[in-house]
Assembly symmetry: C2
Homo-oligomer: 149 residues x 2
DNA sequence: ATATTTGCAAAACATTTGCACGGAA
DNA sequence: TTCCGTGCAAATGTTTTGCAAATAT
């Protein structure tokens, strides 16, 4: 919940108003380590503030992506989830067992790849989307013990 | 259209039957350099074989993704497109002006990143999704001439 | 022959929009 | 007091399913 104050500030700076619904949605996002679908987000936000509507969830997601602190996660099945990633971060690794997301800063390794692509094909990269899928440390430990999920 | 024979073979091996509809859809996919949405794919396939239904397009996409030769492309707006990428290829770069896709093989640069992630967090990467967005060489040239797409 | 594949209509979902009211600034 | 934000209902779009007829093997 550490960035709450900062985000609220940024939202105000951009002319967004702070409402109970947005507080609730923001709260849920900041305390979740895995990507939530709009529907899940809606459900959880309601636990904190009764009157949140699904439409408001969509609109808040839009605002937070616009702000740059929320990340859309693509699942292989085509659905979307959203995770809070904060500022300056770029890459995520999604655990396919527990769904947890690890966020880590962008790296020069990708820059090297972009450079190589440019030299070989002339393609100029403006942005990239890098998403790892695998198993987190905790779930690996759990796998060893033979305990499922 | 070079891989047509190979793909048909693979499909048969898996028990899929070859039909006119699938031929048409496969033809369109193999001759397109940019990702097509199911609707676009449907439209184009109809030009080759009148009676293709949209549902069949969805089902064929499913089969080809299952085969591993078709790649789902995530657009920032949440829509999906599909491109033929062949076997053993992993990464794509999408031109945001003409939509063309460049496919290139996976690289050790990403492996290095995976290794780093593993050492620092214990996360074991099984798969990754890397997608570049930028401007291809041709569109850059066109930009210089001041001619808009 | 016979099991798969098909197109269609309808169902199921996900996302967006129009609108009058309520609430933050 | 002035807009922005809200929830609702309805519109839009996309993807999936049920089914009997058609077809590849």
């Amino acid at each position: 919940m550490k960035d709450m104050h900062l985000i609220v500030q940024k939202l105000r700076d951009r002319g967004y108003r702070m409402t109970a619904a947005r507080q609730a949605i923001l709260n849920v996002l900041l305390s979740s380590t895995r990507p939530l679908s709009p529907a899940e987000l809606h459900q959880r936000a309601r636990e904190k503030y009764q009157g949140v509507g699904l439409v408001t969830v969509y609109r808040t997601i839009e605002a937070l992506i616009d702000l740059g602190v929320l990340r859309r996660v693509h699942r292989e099945d085509g659905c979307h989830g959203y995770v809070y990633v904060g500022y300056g971060h770029r890459h995520i690794a999604v655990c396919r067992i527990c769904g947890k997301v690890i966020v880590f800063p962008g790296s020069e390794d990708v820059l090297a790849l972009e450079e190589k692509l440019w030299q070989e094909t002339g393609f100029r990269v403006d942005d990239h989307l890098l998403q790892f899928v695998g198993v987190c440390a905790e779930c690996q430990a759990r796998e060893k013990e033979g305990i499922q999920q």
